[in-house]
Amino acid sequence: MFDAVIRNLPYLMGGFGVTLELTSCALSGGIILGMLVGLGRISRVKWIYYPVTVYVNFVRNMPLILVIFWFYFVMPILVGRPLNPFVSSVIAFIIFEATYFGEIFRAGYQSISRDLINASFSTGMTYSQTARYILIPIAFKRMLPSLITQSIVTFQDTSLAFVIGLQEFVRRTSIVDNLEFRSIELFSFVAIIFFIFCFIGSKISLHFEEKGRRTGVL
């Protein structure tokens, strides 16, 4: 029954490898940019706050597919030559996902009450000492569950790079489907693989949420 899947397994799993690659690039870039975006969103400097806020609110109104297309069209013009789908997808994902990660970081930064920082200052600690031993560890522990959840979303979103021809997992599955016509097996297979990874990921996120609640950090 599942022989269509088994026959094409190497090809399909190669696509999954591309998916994982895309996810890790998107996550690294998205999280780092997200940290900055979060800082920008709590900045009191007007010429930082307003551009960042406009950027975040604009991008969050956009469907991801459209953003992927847009970068696919824009990048060759900016760079002067056609870009391969992987690179243009990575850029699109980083710019897109950074807005979502940015909001998570913003909430994390803001969850530290002013007085907690004041309490640290009142014992004579400097700003950088407070940031290092208090601010950052607490904010990170609080944000970890959401960061994991959003990473799972990014992982699922990579399937949309399909539309610019990237040879990732879903595209390869549909290519095989066009040859084999065993649609039920093939698409169930993709679904199951995604399900397993995302389900495990969500349980990990829950674990950290529980842990945070237990130690009173959340």
Partner: protein, 241 residues
Amino acid sequence: MIEINNISKWFGDFKVLTDIKEVVERGQTVVICGPSGSGKSTLLRCVNGLEPYQKGEIIVDGISLSDPKTNLYNLRQKIGMVFQRFELYPHLPVLRNISLAPMKVLKKSKKEAEKKAKELLDRVGIPEKADEYPANLSGGQQQRVAIARSLAMEPDYMMFDEPTSALDPEMINEVLEVMIDLAKEGMTMLVVTHEMGFAREVANEIIFMDEGKIVERGSDEEFFTNPKSERTKAFLSQILV
């Protein structure tokens, strides 16, 4: 000694403190009371440089806070502060909450800092909680840890911002007892509180603030038995049952 010379502070257009003048001599305990929004907490935060002020001067042991050469971080080692919501570091065990600043700021060794921390925990009555996380302690216990944390820096002055307001009634006394012991041992204290029993027992001077101004001040007996202004009388009648 702490000299507060005609401090005025604005938040935008809103004047939060007007011409506050006060001197806190060494060994004295000064209690500040008043309705919420009167600026009491803001005043405390001006004294250790957590909040800036626009007019006037605060001088601590001869060092002016408005002098640009003043290192506020160093100054804060001399002034401990205890907050209404305790503000313990939730991700660190109690012992580390207390020993963190001595290790990082005073550069004490881990052994030294933890020894001192254990002594302080003993002094505030909860030596057995050293390895617990703040979330597992009651409010009264957490506040006592907060006091120990401030004391670990061996400050010359201690400020308290409504230390018992967030506590359930049965825990208020355990914290007040620690504070009373401190005052009796000669610590210079500036305390914002509604606990008039505490004020009666250890305060050398009581100040009543309203709408950013000092309305009345007096030594503790004359304050309670003979309040001069109408507003003071009204306030006292509300909080003294």
